[in-house]
Amino acid sequence: MGSTERKAFDNPVIEWVDSRLPIFTMMQKEYGVFPTPKNFNYFWNFGAIAMVMLVTMIVTGIVLAMHYNPSTAGAFDSVERIMRDVKHGWMLRYLHANGASFFFMAVYIHIFRGLYYGSYKKPRELLWILGMVIFLLMMATGFMGYVLPWGQMSFWGATVITNLFSAIPLVGDSIVTLLWGGFSVDNPTLNRFFALHYLLPFVIFAVVFLHVWALHVTGSNNPLGIDVKTPQDTLPFHPYYTMKDTFGVLVFLIIYAAFTFFMPNALGHPDNYIEANPLVTPAHIVPEWYFLPFYAILRAITFDLNIYLAGAGAIGAVLVHQYCWVKTPDQRIASKIKPIIAVAIVLAIPGALLAFFKDVSFLKPVIEFIPFQSLSLMPAKLGGVLAMFGSIAVLFLLPFIDSHPVRSARFRPWFRMSVYVLLAVFVVLGVCGSKPAEGFWVPLAQVTTLYYFGFFLALLPWLNNNEPVQRVPGSIHEAVMSMPKSVLVALLAIGLVAFAPTQAFAKADKESAPVEKAEAATVDAEKTVTPAEGQEGSGEEHASQSEHSAPPAAGEEHGAATDGHHAPELPKQDWHFKGAFGSYDRAALQRGFQVYKQVCAACHGMKRVAYRNLSALGYTEDQIKSVAAEYTFMDGPDDEGEMFERPGKPSDHFKSPYLNDNQAKASNNGALPPDLSLIVKARVGGPDYLYAILTGYETAPAGTELAAGQYWNKYMAGNKIAMPAPLLEGAVAYEDGSPTTVDQYARDVTQFLAWASEPEMEERKQTGIKVIIFLAVFAFLMYRVKKKIWEKAH
């Protein structure tokens, strides 16, 4: 746009700038009058929504980086400091953590919209490819960001994902060492992940710019998938779509805020509230939900590529090419199709036997007869990695695979059906990815993986040649005149609302996963664990089994002996702090603190809580001072260079009963009493789990062997626990006349520990209510504004 074609602005300042740098002219051209098809449905909001989420992530990320310490020694602590001490820190971190999920959610919907309406087709191929580049960058960024809090899932996720590269033949191990900057995931790894996690969003931003640029060259696609023909087909971007996008963004933000303020950990893993420990792997590692489908594809390749399977596959590939990609198959092949298929089947039988049925006992004698079975063309590990990367690579190739002349699935019933199945397959893959890789889930993941690739590599090419070309409307204008608008509005509402619970359900599935592993018979009972019921119950329901069934050799957990059997369902308790309006009961907190101080503190530290924090329990400054002064702290060195002892101050953190972990283990039969600061957030079931453990002691059933220092607990995974029943009736004298029963002690101390885990909870919920009311009213206003503006267009 040369300055000669520029139209002058009235405002002299704008004119002065614009005549030198025509940025206002550009804005007006690209975002003001930009001709946009007038028939967008609400799926077209997700580009703007994704943009808003990207900005949200960058802004919250920058402020978090101001407080984050990228070192293995300081990362976890600095994140907890953000949660507890930094002003509004909990909100910034929860916005960022949940923002990642919602960014992916928006982008997945955006991608699906592109797929469904054929937005990737000529002339928008490069636009789609740029979008895929953004998606890939997002995956890298999201993965590295998840490593930064340096919890157990961070550490082991980083280990597993970086190890993917070790599958590369010859240079794999060197690449992994290079990525780590050492011989395991360690400080150098964390440092570089932080550097890249800070960098990549800006790269994403740059690619988004190119993506939008490319969009403005070709113009937008639309639900009909037909080209804009006359000015009648379009509306200026502003105010029509600026207002519609604003409304859509606000609706999306309401759901985002609901998660952030009321169930901030619902999409995360309790294990990540346990600091990274290179010696103990959580029993059940799962990536963040947005990686689950790809993770499932990775794990679906459980078999080496034997020569029979390779042979059958090669024939299959030729047939797919001949019968799907090419319009009429080569005569030489078509005439011999029967013998070819016969050969393929003959090869496929031993191939499949070796690959999928090796462990079936009654087939063993048959399998033994297959010759050359040790010959493997590709190990399963490499196959899995290739499949996973391939599943993204096919998305890049999509514009060149699908050459059907009709864009929108609305006029392609066959394609539409295939895309719906693909969507279902993607969701099923996600569920498979969240389950342990065993039993029924493995073949399910394999079949769905086959469909995933089949869709792109066989079905789409076949549809190119065989799906009839329907008559499409002559123009957008003509079609709009006969479209029921309300249907689309309803679609959006359903789409947005349905998506959130889906996540919660996916999580609920995850939660029951380790149980299924343990005992199939209890599966049904376990599944009744309800998802996301208020924030406490929500995020915390699925890791404790995994945690406690960690190898006992590590001895890091109190459950010294765990064999992973039988974890009975936790009874739901009615907590004062449940639900959107729940708050802590101050009297219970004070009693709970008393129980902690007189009982738990003998073995368990709470190093993330400071005495000054007790003011939240309703203690006065003087009371806090005297509580702190009961403890002696080592300080110094003084002027003579000597260490000295002094009474505690309110700014001191709770004094640990042991000098270090080794002393703690030595004093407790080798089992480490875990620090209790985060225990409620770090266990599946949260407060219910804690209460259950505290009250679950029973005499061991006859025939149970308990080693010295082991006790029997109904709710402990494996039932053997190294902690003796801590609460005894009457052991703590309450001053307020509350019953001094084990049940009451357990309730009180659990509430106290819930507070210690989430001291910000009350402020969080109160803020959340305000935020959601504000957003809802604003969204309603914007809906009215949008309607008012769109009146003119109809």
């Binding site: 802004v59 402020v63 507890r84 200026p236 400071a610 700014s651």
Partner: protein
């Protein structure tokens, strides 16, 4: 692009007013929202709760002899504590405050004349003045001398010469015992 404006009818004016009101309300919501969102992002830079909680320092004064000074750390800054000699006290007290750039009596700057407690940061541009060690240059007035830009402070920490605009600040402190103070 080609929107036909509906032909003006009788209710147009009233309708326009209602529409403007709606648009303005929505815009106001946007502005309020943006403002309220901005605040936590700015406020997060203020000192965090643990930082604030550490803002007091206890100092034992017993080892300091007359004429000596010590420097302690408070809120990340140096605090000068000087046990003044009778001559120093005398010269500080007898100074004619009308000649001072930042007029303050010595009495208003100490709790006990013997002990002078100051934030050891030059009020010019934040350097740490010299004069704590016996070997340091103490400036023309026997107090402190800031080598960065040549400010001279007297034995009450008041600015006497040089570019600094203010006297050395006196932090909030109290005597817990005869030889023990709590700063902050």
């Amino acid at each position: 692009m080609s929107i036909e404006n509906p032909a003006p009818d009788h209710g147009a004016h009233e309708d326009e007013g209602r529409r403007d009101f709606l648009f303005l309300t929505a815009a106001a919501f946007g502005a309020v929202g943006a403002g309220s969102v901005a605040w936590p992002f700015i406020d997060q830079m203020n000192p965090a709760a643990d930082t604030v909680a550490l803002s007091t320092t206890e100092v034992d004064l017993t080892p300091i002899e007359a004429g000596q000074a010590i420097t302690v750390m408070w809120q990340g800054k140096p605090v000068f504590i000087r046990r003044r000699t009778p001559e120093e006290i005398n010269s500080a007290e007898t100074t004619d405050i009308s000649t001072l750039r930042d007029p303050q009596t010595d009495e208003s700057r100490v709790k006990k004349p013997e002990w002078l407690v100051l934030v050891g940061i030059c009020t010019h541009l934040g350097c740490v003045p010299q004069g704590q060690k016996s070997t340091d240059v103490k400036g023309e007035y026997g107090g402190w001398f800031c080598p960065c830009h040549g400010s001279h402070y007297d034995t009450s920490g008041r600015i006497r010469k040089g570019p600094a605009p203010k006297n050395l600040a006196v932090p909030k402190y109290e005597f817990l015992a005869d030889t023990k103070i709590l700063i902050g």
